[in-house]
């Protein structure tokens, strides 16, 4: 301790000695330009050449996008088709509820994880200059009318003024980054109410000539509500975050995010027609049986005194559940949910010895089982109930919503499969290693499109009688199995970066292999591979457009085939594709930005 105090005295002494204020190094835009753009003759030439190329490129690009002969009406009129295809009007509120749940989770998460990034006035001013620069570039390079140019000029001057004001008068003030984001969103949503974007509609399939004025109420009202939902959720989260344990609230939110996609799709968007007689006659009794018998069994298994016999019982149950599944192939017909519940119970039973301990620990373990069982049974019931959404095709979603559904489901499914494959491939047990390696190498050797076609044509032949997966579901399954192989290789890279000492330290503390893997190895391995994992997420999202080829109505097909085929908008194919590309870019760019934030945040615990 004394050493430390001495050290601090020494630092203080140095600070007192340095009475002369430090000199400011040369700075300013001219210095910056000289050092970075024109540091030598060669770099000056390269700068000028690069600038010229950029000018020519943007002039061509902007000239094209804002050219007088562009027909953006095709996009503006078909926005709903682009995003949800033919989702019926009278059930459309379900789409907004689905989006609203996601935004509410976003708001809550921002509060619970204390998104506390702050931006100072100097930086804000810089951003303001950036926006002004963009506007001025647009104004100079685009083929605008003089009236439009004037509006752009005024806007640019406002941004220059704001930037200058912030930099000169308030360079040190700090505002939460969140409020900047919400502010920008509020301006965008607010503009729906005041800016005359024009109204583009169909009536009975006939395109109406665009009317002046602001957008329709069915657009601006939901978006306003969505923004409010997000903000309110944030403040709710802020109010409760100090009253609940952070572990619990974060756990609940993570669970919420994982359940979001299946819940939004199966429960909200499909609008399942529940038969309550059937529910109370069959589903509830099955659930209650497994709840009571399963809890009793797990209570018995998690007793610290149980010892070896517990593992034997759990092992026998796994084998039993497996045989029960196989028996289905030989004609033993039993409700699918009973098989699922039995398998679930046996897997949880295997984990039981890990959760032995005090009565309170065991009670939490049983509670976890009941929640898991309830969720699985509820979702299985919803999945097995028919949809009431009537659309031309067999699938309620299409366009961007289908793309999003496929991408998120694929990611959700491929993550656990990929983890297991990666652990299998690095396992000490030869049989697991062989199986995982074979799977990964086989899948990686086959093109994605082949797998998609294969699953579309062949999968249903392998399924038991009376069970069939739609094209969409088999595509999701095939794509998930494909991307799991790539994900496994990324995770394996992370696993290999863990030093031997970490395993040794965990072993020396008496931790079991399962404990070492889940508390020590995986958390570090996943952190190490965040950049390639995000790369994988982006690739997965973009490559959903291959669904086009197997005939699904994904975002690209809606743009290229459906909107492109409308007789009212002949010749607007390029606009359609530009719009599709732009939306893809917005999503992938945001993923990539948030991954940078994530890396920064995780970096703290690393050092």
């Amino acid at each position: 301790m004394d050493e430390k105090r001495e050290q601090m005295d020494w630092v203080a002494a140095v600070e007192v000695a340095g009475e002369k204020p430090p000199e400011v190094p040369p700075h300013g835009p001219v210095v910056w330009a000289r050092e970075n753009l024109f540091s030598s003759v060669g770099s000056g030439i390269l700068t000028a050449a690069g600038l010229l190329v950029a000018l020519v490129f943007f002039k061509a690009m902007l000239g094209y996008i804002f050219g007088a002969d562009r027909k953006w009406d095709a996009v503006a009129t078909n926005l709903r088709l682009y995003f949800t295809q033919a989702y019926p009007d009278d059930q459309y509120v379900r789409v907004w509820v689905a989006v609203g749940i996601a935004l509410a989770l976003t708001g809550l998460s921002a509060a619970i994880w204390r998104a506390s990034g702050r931006v100072n006035g100097y930086k804000l001013g810089g951003w303001s200059f950036g926006v002004a620069g963009g506007l001025l570039t647009m104004l100079v390079l685009s083929p605008f009318s003089w009236g439009a140019r004037l509006i752009y000029l005024i806007l640019a001057l406002v941004f220059v003024g704001t930037g200058q004001y912030l930099r000169m008068s308030h360079p040190k003030i700090e505002v939460p980054a969140l409020s900047v984001v919400v502010g920008v969103l509020a301006v965008l949503v607010g503009s729906l109410w005041v800016v005359p974007y024009g109204r583009h509609t169909f009536v009975n399939g006939e395109v109406q000539p665009p009317r002046p004025g602001t957008v329709a109420m069915t657009t601006k009202l939901p978006w306003t509500v969505m923004l409010l939902v997000m903000v309110v959720a944030y403040f709710v989260g802020k109010a409760v975050r100090d009253k609940v344990s952070p572990g619990l609230s974060k756990g609940l939110l993570v669970a919420g995010w994982m359940l979001l996609v299946p819940f939004d799709y199966f429960v909200i968007l499909r609008d399942p027609a529940l038969d309550y007689g059937q529910v109370f006659r069959v589903d509830v009794p099955i659930f209650l049986f497994f709840a009571v018998v399963g809890s009793a069994l797990l209570w018995w298994l998690s007793d610290p005194e149980r010892g070896e016999i517990g593992r034997v019982v759990a092992g026998l149950m796994v084998i039993g559940a497996g045989v029960f599944w196989l028996a289905a192939a030989f004609g033993l017909s039993v409700r699918q949910i009973i098989r699922i519940d039995l398998l679930l119970l046996s897997v949880v039973a295997v984990a039981a010895p890990t959760f032995t301990g005090e009565k309170a620990v065991r009670r939490r373990f049983i509670l976890g089982w009941l929640i898991l069982l309830a969720l699985v049974n509820y979702m299985a019931m919803m999945v097995n109930t028919d949809s009431t959404v009537e659309v031309p095709g067999s699938f309620p979603l299409g366009g961007f919503s289908l793309t999003l559904l496929v991408a998120t489901s694929v990611l959700l499914m491929s993550f656990p499969i990929g983890l297991i494959l990666a652990l299998g491939r690095t396992s000490k047990m030869p049989i697991f290693r062989l199986l995982s390696t074979t799977y990964i190498e086989v899948i990686r050797g086959v093109p994605l499109i082949t797998i998609l076609i294969f699953f579309k044509i062949i999968l249903n032949l392998f399924l038991p009688d009376g069970m069939s997966l739609g094209n969409e579901m088999s595509a999701i399954l095939g794509y998930a199995l494909f991307s799991a192989a790539y994900l496994a290789e990324n995770v394996r890279g992370g696993l290999q970066s863990i030093r031997k000492g970490q395993y040794e330290a965990a072993n020396a503390l008496g931790m079991s292999t399962a404990q070492t893997t889940s508390f020590i190895v995986l958390p570090q391995a996943l952190r190490a591979v965040v950049p390639p994992l995000v790369g994988g997420v982006i690739a997965t999202f973009k490559e959903t457009s291959l669904l086009f080829i197997i005939g699904l109505f994904d975002f690209l097909r809606i743009g290229y085939v459906v909107v492109g085929g409308q007789t009212a908008f002949v010749g607007s194919q390029r606009e359609n594709l530009l719009f599709v590309a732009f939306i893809y870019w917005i999503i992938t760019f945001s993923i990539s930005r948030s991954s940078v934030q994530l890396e920064k945040k995780l970096g703290l615990g690393e050092r």
């Binding site: 020396a508 508390f519 570090q524 615990g605 690393e606």
Partner: protein, 249 residues
């Protein structure tokens, strides 16, 4: 430290042999460590000191001979290994703290999940141990934010949190800057005074002389000489020991 009362044997090695491929690292080690005894293992690098103590908690597997820890023989039975590991604490040269967990979580993880202690109890114990190694204020930091000496003291606290019967130290000060060695050795001295059974592999002759009850000198995978520090440093009998001491002192 040499009490006259009979003490139980804590660790017994009988004819322990270990090969890495064709290279024989241990050539038949016979050694007994009694309860509350502090044994320092010396020897040139590559002499098998680290391998020996790593065999005692089965981080390395010996091929021949017997190792008995607290009456339980080390075999391939997983139950035995995990039981012994949770009773034998180990401190490594490279600390091997878990970089993604706070100091508090580093210390409480194993007591909670291996010893099945309630969290509150584990955290109270962790704070007591951090107090004992002199860094209670660092509990919420991450290992990367601590100096090497502080990290090694956390590693000692982490091992002690399992309430082990034996502590193994594998060159605990070799990776430290000189000014941090003393703070770690002080903690180890204090631990020895409380009666912990310890086996220490080290190059710190001062520590060996002051704290050890017995010194074992190893070379080429064999025990060459063993005895009290006084005997070892002032009156060694073997030529190889004399040569080693003349190179070091």
């Amino acid at each position: 430290m040499t009490g006259l009362e009979a003490r139980a044997d804590m660790i017994v090695c009988e004819g322990v042999k270990k090969w890495f491929g064709d290279f024989q690292a241990l050539r038949g080690i016979d050694m007994t460590v009694e309860e509350r005894e502090v044994v320092v293992v010396l020897g040139p690098s590559g002499s098998g000191k680290s391998t020996l103590i790593r065999c005692i908690n089965r981080l390395e597997v010996h091929q021949e001979g017997r190792i008995i820890v607290d009456g339980v023989e080390l075999t391939n039975d997983l139950r035995n290994i995990e039981k012994i590991r949770s009773e034998v604490g180990m401190v490594f040269q490279q600390f091997n703290l878990f970089p993604h967990l706070t100091i508090m979580d580093n210390i409480t993880l194993a007591p909670i999940w291996v010893r099945k202690k309630p969290r509150e109890e584990a955290e109270t114990l962790a704070m007591e141990l951090l107090d004992r190694v002199g860094i209670p204020e660092q509990a919420d930091k991450y290992p990367g934010q601590l100096s090497g000496g502080q990290q090694q003291r956390v590693a000692i606290a982490r091992a002690l949190a399992m309430e082990p019967r034996v502590m193994l130290f594998d060159e605990p000060t070799s990776a430290l800057d000189p000014e941090m060695i003393k703070e770690v050795l002080d903690v180890m001295k204090e631990l020895a005074q409380t009666g912990m059974t310890m086996i220490v592999v080290t190059h710190e002759m001062g520590f060996a002389r002051e704290v050890a009850d017995r010194i074992i000198f190893m070379e080429s995978g064999e025990i060459v000489e063993e005895g009290t520090p006084e005997h070892f440093f002032t009156n060694p009998t073997e030529d190889r020991t004399k040569l080693f001491l003349s190179q070091i002192l």
